[in-house]
Subunit: 329 residues, 2 copies
DNA sequence: CATATGTGTGGAATCGATACCACACCAATG
DNA sequence: CATTGGTGTGGTATCGATTCCACACATATG
């Protein structure tokens, strides 16, 4: 490992001069600069970022805590974050919790020890402990996907997107609309989307039968089973479904196919996510595009601003959604 | 930011003693240890990883260079890598090239400057310049997805998987089998899979018409267009297709649906990837599962071994594939 | 009883960079 | 000619840890 000292010796200048040349600070003669650059090119020397960080307190690294890397949503958000960050010379240090919420806290500490310049958390819950912890973190912090008071949040408009989807079904003449949701710990996906569904139904004076509402987890299989429950347990069979994610909708769709209920002729399905797959199932799903990549790049922009201004001005940024109408309705 | 010096003062010992207590090296009296631990607990002190790395030359960070974060394949590989690494206290520093091969080289330098303990490259090409660069990197280095001589490589058995798929089609009675591939710069996906196709056809004394073989890029739309070319340009219409990726197969499938060719009754399709979506298109695709997550965790294991042993013993590790038979044949 | 061995501790050097300061030089200014 | 100010350079402290070394003391060994 080459050091600045060796470069200095080879170029016959002091370490200070090499440092100045490297960072374009202070004065360096043309002559000295050329010699230094020549040596650097020949040796392939790269300054140690650790030594640099130790002095400057800047790492040019942002920690990103996410529940899983394997979903399209996470992939898109991270891609969006990375697009902005890498353009500004920052890199991402990954922290994958595997949906284990204790790990969220652990990783916050770990990232602090690594002295990242900022932390972005793709959140799935708003547990009290977590919120407390976030508030006492002294570095720029941002959450995506959940609104946390006092913390810069980039969120989706879960409530209105849900209402709009349900409203669409109602306009198409549906009155008996079922719902597949997830645990309400996940305030955005579990609670807000459900609230949108219930409110829109009520606003249209439609009553909801208990069995129409099922809770599932985040995979296709779970959507399949939830649909089965809905069909088997409800007295009045619904004619439409709002599933809170595409995967749940796809699971439901595959169950309906199995029992020969034709979508969209006998039954309508809508969901949220606009995953690539939603376009290629049969029939293609009517869904809402949350523009995750934009959410990611917005988050990136915000955190860079927080770093630059050294100010934390808690605000909520809502990313626009797009309704995509396809054949499932 | 709390430092070891302050902790030492508060616990009435020297910095050395705190360090020993922290790292369980040397001797520390029970008495001193307790005082130190108490102070650490009260203050929430976390040692600076930078200062530590500067001395120890270890960062507990592995750089992962990948072509894109947005594909299922990348997601799975990274998840596999992370599973092994995080279990051993390592973290991933992400470097996304966005399919720009110049950036691969840039990122190698950047990761070196950040003094990562190792680099894993998810490779899409084997360009000479890149290979040269890799060879002069002095830290543990591993590639996934391409075989590079003299470098530890975790690869898939592209050649045999391809032959097996084509063989399956032949056993089902197909003789006119088309092929959609990608650029041969990508040696694994472009060249090896094509070689498997050609060799298996020849081994069965089947001739290939020029128009049956089309080149595409990595998206669904491109598969669609390639299939159109095959149908329109070939004199003898093929009865089956081997597409080198699921997405290409799905594109081809959607074209066939459009022109009312029924799969699997009039036409068979096989591909490689076992993406989640392959299971939910109509009909579900016969495909090969490359077990990307396992490839990732194997890569993680290998790089940890390289770090531990401080030895670079270039070898090739081939990950097993699984043939998944579904209704598209 | 002298010597060896095992504990426990603090001082100081070190890692590789940055940044401040002092100094030297040279040209322009009054 | 003395003074000023812009350039260019090197010395040295500093960042926050680890690690080696010296030393002090207690106990065990011959």
């Amino acid at each position: 490992m080459l050091t600045i000292k060796e470069i200095a010796e080879m170029a016959n200048v002091s370490r200070s001069t090499v440092s100045r040349a490297l960072n374009n600070s202070g004065y360096v003669s043309e002559d000295a600069r050329e010699r230094i650059e020549k040596v650097i090119k020949e040796t392939g020397y790269a300054p140690s970022q650790h030594a640099k960080s130790l002095r400057t307190k800047k790492t040019k690294v942002i920690g990103v805590i996410l529940p899983t890397i394997q979903t399209e949503t996470s992939g898109k958000i991270v891609a969006g974050i990375d697009r902005v960050l890498s353009a500004n010379g920052y890199q991402i240090l990954l922290a994958n919790t595997n949906l284990n919420s204790e790990k969220e806290m652990e990783y916050i500490d770990l990232l602090k020890a690594r002295q990242v310049d900022g932390i972005i958390l793709i959140a799935t819950n708003t547990e009290k402990q977590l919120v407390e912890k976030i508030k006492e973190v002294s570095i720029p912090f941002l959450v995506i996907g959940q609104e946390i008071e006092g913390v810069v949040s980039v969120v989706y408009d879960d409530y209105h997107a849900s209402r709009e989807l349900v409203s669409l079904l109602i306009k198409e003449g549906h009155e008996k609309i079922a719902f597949i949701g997830v645990d309400e710990e996940d305030r955005a996906v579990g609670y807000e989307r459900k609230r949108g569904y219930i409110d829109e139904m009520q606003a249209n004076k439609l009553t909801i039968e208990g069995a129409w509402m099922q809770k599932a987890v985040f995979d296709i299989d779970s959507g399949n089973k939830a649909m089965e429950q809905i069909i088997n347990r409800s007295k009045e069979k619904p004619t439409a479904l709002f599933a809170v994610t595409d995967r749940l909708a796809i699971g439901a769709l595959s169950y309906l196919k199995k029992i020969d209920i034709d979508v969209p002729n006998d039954f309508a399905i809508v969901s949220i996510g606009a995953s690539e797959i939603s376009q290629y199932v049969d029939p293609p799903l009517t869904t809402v595009d949350y523009q995750n990549e934009e959410a990611g790049s917005e988050a990136g922009k915000q955190i860079l601003e927080m770093i630059a201004s050294n100010e934390i001005d808690p605000k909520k940024i809502t990313i626009d959604y797009r309704l995509i109408k396809r054949n499932s309705v």
